[in-house]
Symmetry: C2
Subunit: 331 residues, 2 copies
Amino acid sequence: MIQKFQHIIQKEIQKFSAELYITPAELYEPIRYMLSIGGKRIRPLFVLMSCNLFGGKTKDAIPSALAIELFHNFTLIHDDIMDNATLRRNNLTVHSKWNNNIAILSGDVMMIQAYQSIAESKLLSRIFDSVLSVFNQMAIKICEGQQLDLNYEQERKISIPQYYKMIELKTAVLLASCMKIGSLTGGATKEDANNLYEFGKNIGMAFQLQDDLLDVYGDTEKFGKQKGGDIIANKKTFLLCKAQELCSSNRSMNKEMERWLNVHPDNKKDAHKKIKAVTCIFDSVNIRKITEKEIIFFHQRAVNLLEKVSAPAKKKKFLIEFTAGLLRRET
Amino acid sequence: MIQKFQHIIQKEIQKFSAELYITPAELYEPIRYMLSIGGKRIRPLFVLMSCNLFGGKTKDAIPSALAIELFHNFTLIHDDIMDNATLRRNNLTVHSKWNNNIAILSGDVMMIQAYQSIAESKLLSRIFDSVLSVFNQMAIKICEGQQLDLNYEQERKISIPQYYKMIELKTAVLLASCMKIGSLTGGATKEDANNLYEFGKNIGMAFQLQDDLLDVYGDTEKFGKQKGGDIIANKKTFLLCKAQELCSSNRSMNKEMERWLNVHPDNKKDAHKKIKAVTCIFDSVNIRKITEKEIIFFHQRAVNLLEKVSAPAKKKKFLIEFTAGLLRRET
């Protein structure tokens, strides 16, 4: 089923790219480019899976699935400008390949096209209203999450609740909305749709923690990212926030952590030493185990939420195994 | 009626600002700021007026009117980043008052809120679908217009058809969509709504030409803008494009124009001389008269289109007089 859905999504994205206007080229080429450099298309997959959970027709969920993928890619284009990122999925970011103005504007167009895709779904008006409302609230929250992220970059230290709030808005709400939109399209009751929203949120939290963990403890080859990139960048990850919390009462460890946080992200000379030293602090407070436990906690909470949902047990089991599989990857 | 509508719009915008979330402040403060520094609210006014033309209820058109104003302000925030503009309506632009990242993100949120406002209009589903579709197409076209504007900035000279295409997309389509959305909400037939779209487009073209004209020949005090700003900036206006066309066969005038276009916008020393000299070229090819004729041409075309529309003659007459009044201002 996964492969079938993935194939459908791939085809839809290709169709979208092929039908895209050509001029002004500066506007549409970046959109085509962004969609061509891939990504795992997990989000539209979740839309189709949750629609299927309630026996809905896949074709009804396709416009929303595409809309979510377009919206997600729009946020990536704009976030990359704000984060000054040069690479995305091992390719140049849009603003690096073209320029900031083109990245702002083609991102804007991509967001409008997301709405256009939603509008093209021929859903019954009651369901359409709900889907559009979930989409709008999701969109606002993701922007709020990005703003928190920008704010927290300026801070030396943020608390675990602050960290959780940020990733909930920036990452988890998107998966939550995929599940809710898919299930509403599939004909779920409001209660089931809300439970699936919470399911997606918890899965999203688990995914983000997993991402944080893989940066330090992942298998570089399989993960496809430079190990320790977050450490070099002083990125606010669960590992860093939790380690700072755990070190706070230990003066010497605290000082050691502070010392390495003072090594500037652009300081390439000390980067390797920094990764090693910060990982050593992480090890000493047992951060890997703590993070793994937290991931299991979020996944378990998701499983419990899914149990409450009225859908065929076989399909629910499949969804749990699929998400567990995604969480097992490459550690 | 105008005053009543203006009062309603002002109240709605104030309500929107008051109900806006507070945190993250970096995200919502710029939105409140942008709405507080005003503007003439011509666009929402046109939505309400065209709804009224068909006897529709004003309250039905308010969400779309607000959506249009939000969308318009979102484009201004992002355009100001791209154009590197420091001032807007005599106040600091959002990216100058805060920074580029905040301007990108609060602009994004403002666009989402425009969609949220459209979604909240409790229109019958058939009308809602049409309104959303007009809004989406408008949104895309405005972005295309901005991209053309950015492209043309790099060119020495653009043709009149290129200029017209750009202002149609960047400016006129917005007024056209105001008219179409308002009239659909008011219960107009598809044909009438399309004629009003074309009416709005022609009025929009006339407004833009008027703006171009006022920059050179306007009464500074009444117009509230520095005279000759477009000349200093080498902005592609109707006056410049037409004058370049008319000078093209006259080698010495052509050379003179080229010479002044070579004076960089940042060159403050020669700015005054540049305005005087370029205005002198404009005068010598009679650009004021030509532009005024063109404005009348677009306005007349709008009037002819409105005549075809099935609506009370009194209301149509009022609309024509109102737009004529706006075009008469301050020259």
